[in-house]
Symmetry: C2
């Protein structure tokens, strides 16, 4: 196990789903010999989708090359899908990071940054159908490893993902110790954490409040795919000229 110091950082943005960040943070901030810093388009207060106020420690450009980059999701991801500054930052950090870890619809941001081409990845169950537009191999698993890219499914999957990232970075014993400190022996009250196990009327009830968001995500995702196709045919045209 490599025990050099680890610089861990997370992207925070307005409208994120706070536990996509705070869940993995709880695990990763406990790693030995590591620092954890939050970065945003603007430094200072950042409100999550329900109004919970977190704080970006610094602006994107202040980040050194990170060893681990955490990218949470949430409805606010939509506003960043065409944000060249944020997408360029993700690409630049991903190029040098030992581990890029998306949670929930944070995967859509990685997709928009062009980082999911040919990559096995997952995201929230209600957004999984969008991943192929980014060239990804959409994988219905709770945590997916593909080289340096780790993706976790919706929301609470970030805790499971973070413990596996912890194991990767610092070994099984340290990851197990963190799991015990967090008393992570979950007892979900119902067997309905995925659409496969939830009754249909619960799936319908869950889809209702996010219907507009899911439709809007399809629009931005298709726009990305259209641009990629156009760029591809431009490249082909040039090649044949």
């Amino acid at each position: 196990m490599d025990h050099r110091p680890l610089r861990i950082g997370a992207l925070l943005f307005e409208g994120l789903d706070q536990i996509d960040f705070t869940g993995p943070y709880e695990v990763l901030a406990k790693l030995s010999d590591s620092t954890f810093t939050t970065y945003g388009p603007v430094a200072g207060p950042v409100a999550d989708t329900t109004g919970l106020v977190l704080r970006a420690d610094a602006v994107l450009e202040e980040a050194p090359q990170l060893d681990v980059l955490l990218v949470p999701g949430g409805p606010g991801q939509q506003k960043l899908m065409d944000d060249d500054r944020v997408l360029a930052w993700l690409r630049s950090q991903a190029a040098g990071a030992g581990c890029v870890f998306s949670v929930c619809t944070g995967a859509l941001l990685l997709g928009a940054a062009g980082l999911l081409r040919g990559v096995r990845a997952t995201t929230h169950w209600a957004a999984l159908h969008l991943l192929p537009y980014f060239g990804a191999d959409a994988t219905d698993e709770r945590v997916v490893f593909d080289g340096r890219l780790v993706s976790a499914g919706g929301v609470t999957a970030g805790i499971d993902g973070a413990l596996r990232v912890a194991e990767l970075l610092r070994g099984t014993e340290e990851a197990q110790t963190i799991q015990l400190l967090l008393q992570y022996a979950p007892e979900p009250p119902f067997d309905c954490g995925t659409p496969a196990t939830a009754p249909q009327h619960i799936v319908d009830a869950a889809l209702r409040p996010i219907g507009d968001l899911t439709a809007a995500r399809l629009v931005t995702t298709r726009r990305f795919a259209d641009r990629e196709r156009a760029a591809g045919s431009r490249r082909t045209d040039t090649g044949s000229a």
Copy 2:
């Protein structure tokens, strides 16, 4: 199911363990027809035990009578064990709240406020032995209901507890819908979320960093018990005078 509006609030304090709060928040902030407000001894930024900055929306005295009071734990709980202002606030809120919900060592604060006498309750596994000093019936379960008082075990147990509180407040269907939205179908990577299942060397490794804290907690907890006993004998003296 009673569908009147719910005022939900949480106590935030320096040195809390953020996910004791953010875990249940993620669930309870999604309840229909409800508001969620954070209260602190001081309004404004509040740093958790690892330095993550949250924010108290208002000071304690600005809180109306809450319907649901969430009390997270974390090392910072120690500084509040003799804080008359905070303890009086907890007592006053608990007297009128429909549900008082502690997570992790938040239970020690309820104990210090005198709210655990004769109550079945739980807390983080490393602090469970402290609960009897408060007159509680220490119960080694992940979530414990005793009348209006709900307590969850360590850290991540708050998510399970919050889903059960959600069911209590808004019914099974709404709680199930929230669980599905959070994709809460956990897959812990190891079977070591409790000392009963973790190997002994992992239990030892987990106890090491919290040894001083656990010892300090025993001191404050015993002080509470001594005061209670003294008050009891003063009452007896007066009674016999």
